[in-house]
Symmetry: C3
Subunit: 376 residues, 3 copies
Amino acid sequence: MKRSLLSFTTMLTKESIFTALLVFVPISIAAHFLGWGELAVFITSGLAIVPLAGWMGTATEELSVVLGATIGGLLNATFGNATELIIALIALKAGLVDVVQATITGSIIGNLLLVLGFSMLLGGLRYPEQVFHQTAARVNASSLNLAVIAILLPTAANLLAGGIPEPTMQRLSSAVAIVLILVYGLMLLFSMRTHTHLYNLELAAIESCESTEATPTSASHDQRHLWFWVGVLLGITVLVAIESELLVGALEAATAQLGLTPLFTGVILLPIIGNAAEHATAVTVAMKNKMELSMAVAVGSSLQIALFVAPVLVLAGFVLGQPMDLSFNPFELVAVGVAVLLSNSTISDGKSNWLEGALLLATYLVLAITFYFYPA
Amino acid sequence: MKRSLLSFTTMLTKESIFTALLVFVPISIAAHFLGWGELAVFITSGLAIVPLAGWMGTATEELSVVLGATIGGLLNATFGNATELIIALIALKAGLVDVVQATITGSIIGNLLLVLGFSMLLGGLRYPEQVFHQTAARVNASSLNLAVIAILLPTAANLLAGGIPEPTMQRLSSAVAIVLILVYGLMLLFSMRTHTHLYNLELAAIESCESTEATPTSASHDQRHLWFWVGVLLGITVLVAIESELLVGALEAATAQLGLTPLFTGVILLPIIGNAAEHATAVTVAMKNKMELSMAVAVGSSLQIALFVAPVLVLAGFVLGQPMDLSFNPFELVAVGVAVLLSNSTISDGKSNWLEGALLLATYLVLAITFYFYPA
Amino acid sequence: MKRSLLSFTTMLTKESIFTALLVFVPISIAAHFLGWGELAVFITSGLAIVPLAGWMGTATEELSVVLGATIGGLLNATFGNATELIIALIALKAGLVDVVQATITGSIIGNLLLVLGFSMLLGGLRYPEQVFHQTAARVNASSLNLAVIAILLPTAANLLAGGIPEPTMQRLSSAVAIVLILVYGLMLLFSMRTHTHLYNLELAAIESCESTEATPTSASHDQRHLWFWVGVLLGITVLVAIESELLVGALEAATAQLGLTPLFTGVILLPIIGNAAEHATAVTVAMKNKMELSMAVAVGSSLQIALFVAPVLVLAGFVLGQPMDLSFNPFELVAVGVAVLLSNSTISDGKSNWLEGALLLATYLVLAITFYFYPA
């Protein structure tokens, strides 16, 4: 129990900037009930979600350690992007289908260009050249290529056929969603059963990065630890959900007030809120010259979005009575294609430097500018 | 003569599953003349073509051995996809221009995703990691990139210009076809004259795979062998042509009955019939861990389609009074682009595993689903 | 002074074919004033620009040596494509906005397919396989990918949004232009300050190629040398400007007479005139088996066009009252994409042979044919 308490305390204190943002949890609730305006609610709830998303990740990892390799690995693979999933589900329930679709592509673009770009830039300012092994990176890149192509094919068909009827798009999207979830299952099988050795290097890097409390001990399988972390996770989930409700409720009015389109909000704004914690992790480890881990976070998160979050949202759309197909805005198709192409070509030589990071960030900037000017 | 008879007998007996399918030759003819319906004719003639295509390949290779390296190599390079060519010419004569166009892209997609995917998946289930030398593979990949881009450029121009007049498309397509045939000639020069050594590795692999009868002997240049194999080849060609007439004649009625569009029929259905023998070869050698050969079959066949079969069909269209330009359905453009991109990125590291095979197959599946739902 | 005079004399005499073309300077002026017709003026002024562009490059390099590494490097980086820039500015002033836009993409395509293609083909006819180090090539390729994507994104957005209002396109293009110039600054910082060692190999290759007069000596910083070369450069610039005025003035009438569209003129014809000197250099060094240098010329020139010339033209358009946005013809987008993709895949293995060169040339040929038939 001591270990759990210790790591709970560490979780609360170690990243003080993030922890400070927690004051926005009560502030955003006050803003909502005292009627400070939609913009105030939107900004404060957005800021409140940032540290909660970080805690959610930590709690999921701790619970994974308690549950052991297999079930823990599955848990991590399933709830690694839980914050994005919660925000998206609440937005979907509220009928903001186009925002949710945009969040999917925005998360992929953000991970591949913004997270990777900052990692390579800030890491590269410390080390003239950073090298990384490519075995696992290659497999991930191939999977990402497939995943991204698969979720974008219905949009391409819709665009090129000059419009596909809505019921056909629904059936097509569901069929693609099922293939994607199957592929996700195969990937887990590959990484956790048949080719575990390819990922050992990454795991070793992760372990050497984590503080002592993360070392699995015999006590870690203790049932009380399990329930303790389940409780913590549930508590954070409730907070994230509450804040997401505030964020989504204020979204339309607030972004209209700021002159932003739903497309820009979904592609650029929301993913930055949901992924802030991942950004922090990836950049921190890059500055410790652990580029494998940094890339595992960025590419792995993109993979999870494309192979798990996106198909789950398609299938959840039916349940929630808000059918969401995979027909993105055609320019999202271009943006994701660009992000995958550039990150692939940057990763492929197994080396990085600050200029490559700056180039990825410049690409993100140009994309963001174009989305800003893109007509609604 | 003994050698020829021996290999003729082997050809008839060694692949018993294929040989069994030969019963569909008389059945399909019966179906046609006894009026069993177009669907029955379509299915039985399709099944009859599978073993004939296999035999055609074997007979062409035998004849190549008899004719010696240079002329034999040319023969193999020219008639390696003879079955596809015959089906396409008969369909072209019957005026099914859109089906023929779709067959071209479908053969490329099928070779790069389906053949390569099954090879890597089934090979990968036996060997955790399969490696292959990349010299020849690289040259082939570069050639394939050019070939695929060249045959797709007229379609891209047509789409982006908002329609190019038919006579201009004809002239543009003919000019492109002539460049493609010239490039094909240069490739043969490269592989058979100036850079033969790059391909030695592959040839060695092929030889070590083939049974003893394929070893060239002094007797193999015997004139009687020549005429024997010419006779066998002619006989098979006549059978293939007859069956192709049945297949093409029943095609429109049968596919309409099945609810399939001409696009789906051309892109997915016909290439599976014409390439079944190549599938079998590529997968068999992959399971013997000879990945170079497996890829040479898949990529080489795609190259031949793009650089030889497609331009020949364009030029033949004029002769047959059924002018066929290179304006494909825009979504075929996307599908071929995806197939080339993914197979390139999968091949580029010189290693393969079962997951990469599964990813190629999943991509093929998603493409096939999209083609199925694509509006006519 | 002796050194300067010597290298001035060498400049005048060493490339006799180019020097012979100088007779077209007086001829083109005569053609203009004696009224020989627009076609005669267009052809003769085009031929006159070829040697002047070559001299301009030599003079810029000599001045760079005199000015020392940093300022000289900046000068070279800024005026390396001065001829293209002058032609484009004069055409822009004359209101030929679509021709200028086409010249930008045409220069990139020409460098990546035509220059690189001829280098690999002619180099490959002498040496069966040519190898090159990839460190600097990789960085350049990544930068080029970004640059090309960034200048093409406004076109993609315009196409996919079904038309973006002109003022928005102007603001979007200006914003992208500013990002591109910043990236260009970062690239210079990278190559001239933080990662100079990556480029040493290339510099060594360049030095070993140049004749003795290019070796920096203590005398080379002499002020008189400085003013001598400044004078030479100014003189050539005036000649280039005069000839560009003639070329641009005759352009519309002459190309209409030849039945060429502005698109074809801008993408194919003008870049061949402006880049002839670079073609000669790249091919000459390739035939001396110095492929690194050959590629540095081709890729470096493309980079300069995309990151410096294009944004300068966008910003100059405002000053000249001829606002030019970055909305290219959609097919230019495809052509540049194809050129970048193929050159990337050809360079990526660090080896080249004659077939790869022939493939790049064939791609250029197919693109040129398509541009020729592309409706106005």
